[in-house]
C-alpha cells in the first residue's frame, strides 16, 4: 500500500520539493512537464519526466485526463498535485481513484465540500468554529439598524444577489446603517434586479492567520501551529511568518483547537490549512475557508516544528498513520518566508520573465531556499512568476528579521528583476518590525510611501 512510484503533477519549486521528499523516502519519481519545462530542475532530478503538452497550462498541467493518463501509463501508484493547478479540483482525485492511483491529499468529496464556501461555513458553524458575525437577509432599513446594532459597528452591507464590490456600503452607526441600506439596496436593484442585502462585521485592519493541519482520514487531526500571512498585495501573499506573534497565547490555543475540530468533523485526510480573519482590536478570529492542499508557505511551519510535512503527506497517502501525536509536535523559534517573484516592483510589479545570468543564494544556519532556479535557467513567461522562497528561522522574531535581512543582502540574482529589494525594504519598515501590520498595510501604507520616495 505504501507508494512505490510517485507522479508529481506540478512544476517549478513545488515539483522539485516533492521530488526531493519522495527521494528521501526511497520512492521513484515521475514528473509531469509541459514543453516549456523540459529543462526544469524537477525534470532533471526525477527518475523520469513525461511531456504532457505544449507550454499552455490548459493544454498540459490543467488537463486532468492527460495528467492521470501519464501517471498511470508510467506505472505510478501515487500522485501529488502540489498547490494551484488541479490541486483542489475534485475531478483529479476521482480520476486517480478510478485508475488505481493513490491521491496525495483529501478525498474528492471533502475537496468538493470545502470548496463550496457556503457549505464550508455551515461545516465550520456545526463544529463550533466562529464565523464573521453577520446577518443573512436585510430587507429594510429597520433590519439594517437592528442587525447593525446586534453585530457591532462598523458593518458592511453587501448585495445578496451580486458581487464585485457593487452595492457595498460601510456603516459606522445606526443612522449610517439605515441611510446605507437605501443606497446599497437601490444600487443592488439597478445592478442585479434584487435589492436584498446581507450584513457582515467590517474589520478594517484584519490579519490573515491560518493553521497547518494534518489528518489521517480516520478522525485524527493534529496541527503544526499557525502562520501569519498579513503582508499581501491584491490578495496575494508576499511574506509569511510562524507563529503569529501578534496573537496572545490563549487565543492561539483556541485557534488551533477550532481548526482541528473543523477538520476532525469531516475526517480530514492529509495536509490542509484552515484560514481565519483575526480582528486584533476585538481579539477575535473568524473562519474564512479551508485550503485542502499543501500551501506555498508550508516551509515556515516546517522550520518551527522541525518536521517534513511533504514527506508526511506521501506517507499518509500510502496508508500510514500520523507519525506524531499532538504532544509530540514541538514548536520553537520564529520563521519568516519571502516569496521571490520575477517582477519589477518599481514598474507596478510587471512580470519580467527571462534568463538568470547570475544566481548566488545565501546559506548558513537557519537559512533555507526552496527554488528550482539556477544560473542559466530561464523563467518561462507562461506561468506564475515565482522563482523561489527564502525562509529563515531564529529563536526570536527580531533575530529572524535580522537573519532575513542579512540573507537578502547576500543573495545575488542577475538577469531578471526580482522582488528581493522590495522584501528588504518591507522588513526594514518600523511597522513590520513592531508587527503593526494588517492585510491592507502593504497597499495602503507601504507602497504609497515607497512610490512617494521614488518620485
Amino acid at each position: 500500500m505504501a507508494i512505490k512510484r510517485l507522479f508529481i503533477a506540478n512544476r517549478g519549486e513545488i515539483a522539485l520539493r516533492i521530488v526531493r521528499a519522495a527521494q528521501a523516502l526511497n520512492i521513484e519519481t515521475v514528473v509531469a512537464i509541459s514543453d516549456a519545462d523540459r529543462d526544469s530542475a524537477a525534470a532533471r532530478l526525477a527518475d523520469r519526466a513525461v511531456v504532457l503538452g505544449p507550454a499552455s497550462a490548459s493544454k498540459s498541467y490543467l488537463d486532468p485526463k492527460l495528467v492521470v493518463h501519464a501517471a498511470q501509463a508510467s506505472g505510478c501508484d501515487g500522485l501529488h498535485p502540489g498547490y494551484g493547478f488541479l490541486s483542489e479540483r475534485a475531478v483529479l482525485p476521482r480520476l486517480c481513484k478510478e485508475h488505481g492511483i493513490a491521491f496525495v491529499g483529501p478525498e474528492a468529496d471533502v475537496i468538493d465540500a470545502l470548496g463550496d464556501k457556503l457549505r464550508a461555513r455551515a461545516m465550520a458553524s456545526a463544529a463550533g468554529v466562529p464565523l464573521v458575525p453577520g446577518s443573512e437577509c436585510i430587507a429594510s432599513a429597520g433590519d439594517a439598524r437592528r442587525e447593525g446594532d446586534r453585530i457591532g459597528y462598523p458593518v458592511l452591507l453587501k448585495a445578496s444577489a451580486g458581487g464585485g464590490g457593487r452595492g457595498m456600503v460601510i456603516a459606522h452607526n445606526g443612522d449610517d446603517a439605515e441611510a446605507g441600506f437605501h443606497r446599497a439596496s437601490a444600487e443592488a436593484v439597478a445592478a442585479f434586479g434584487d435589492g436584498t442585502l446581507f450584513m457582515e462585521r467590517f474589520v478594517p485592519q484584519a490579519r490573515h492567520v491560518e493553521v497547518q493541519l494534518m489528518g489521517d482520514g480516520k478522525g485524527k487531526v493534529i496541527h503544526f501551529g499557525e502562520r501569519d500571512c498579513s503582508v499581501q498585495r491584491r490578495y496575494q501573499k508576499l511574506i509569511e511568518e510562524a507563529p503569529c506573534a501578534a496573537m496572545p497565547d490563549h487565543l492561539r490555543a483556541q485557534l488551533h483547537q477550532s481548526a482541528v475540530d473543523l477538520a476532525a468533523s469531516v475526517n480530514y485526510r492529509n495536509a490542509g490549512t484552515a484560514e481565519f480573519l483575526y480582528d486584533v482590536q476585538r481579539q477575535e478570529f473568524y473562519f474564512i475557508e479551508v485550503n485542502a492542499r499543501i500551501q506555498v508557505e508550508h516551509p515556515v511551519s516546517e522550520m518551527i516544528s522541525g518536521f517534513d510535512l511533504v514527506q508526511e503527506q506521501i506517507r499518509i497517502a500510502g496508508g500510514a498513520d500520523l507519525s506524531l501525536s499532538q504532544d509530540q509536535v514541538v514548536l520553537s523559534g520564529h520563521a519568516i518566508e519571502c516569496r521571490i517573484n520575477a517582477e519589477d516592483s518599481t514598474r507596478d510589479f510587471l512580470p519580467s520573465p527571462g534568463r538568470i545570468s547570475r544566481w548566488k543564494p545565501p546559506g548558513g544556519e537557519g537559512i533555507r531556499l526552496d527554488s528550482h532556479m539556477s544560473e542559466g535557467a530561464m523563467i518561462p513567461p507562461f506561468y506564475d512568476s515565482m522563482v523561489g522562497k527564502l525562509i529563515v528561522h531564529a529563536p526570536t522574531r527580531g533575530e529572524a528579521i535580522a537573519r532575513l535581512a542579512a540573507a537578502i543582502d547576500d543573495f545575488v540574482v542577475q538577469g531578471v528583476p526580482t522582488t528581493l529589494p522590495l522584501h528588504r525594504a518591507i522588513i526594514d519598515h518600523p511597522d513590520f518590525v513592531a508587527n503593526r501590520i494588517h492585510t491592507r498595510w502593504l497597499e495602503q501604507v507601504f507602497l504609497p510611501e515607497l512610490a512617494a520616495r521614488q518620485q
Partner: protein, 143 residues
Amino acid sequence: MIGKRDPAQVAIDDARALLQALMIHGWREIHVRTGDTKIFIAQENGAANPMRNGSASTLVGVSSPAAANEQVIVVTAPHVATLESVVAVGTRLAVGESIATLRVLDDLHPLAATVAGTVVRVDAAQGQLLDYKAAILAIAPDA
C-alpha cells in the same frame, strides 16, 4: 548534469518561447536583453525595432522545423498518450486516412493523415507512452 549549451541555440530557444508568449498573451511587442543577447519581437502594430539604425545588427536566425529539401513529414503526438495502434511501413495513405490511434485513459483518439503519401518509417511501438511531440511515423508525400 546539463552541459553548457551553445549560446546561439539558447537565443533561438528564447526567441521561440517569447514569440509563443507574445501570441498567447496578445502583447504588442517584447524587448528583452540578457547579457549580450537582445531580442525584439513585435506584432505589425507594435513599435519600431529599436535595434535598427545602422548599428551592427546581430542576426539571430530562427531555423525552420524542416529544411526545404526534406523529403518526409514527421507525424508527432499532439499530447501525451499511449500508442494503441499504428499503420505499418509501406502503407499508402490518402488524405484523411487513419494512421494511428492514441489512447488517453479510456478515450481513443484517431490520428488522420494530412498528406497523401507512403509511410517510410515508424518511430514508436504499440503500447508505448508517447510524450507530446514524440515522433510517431514519417510519411513521404506523393510528388
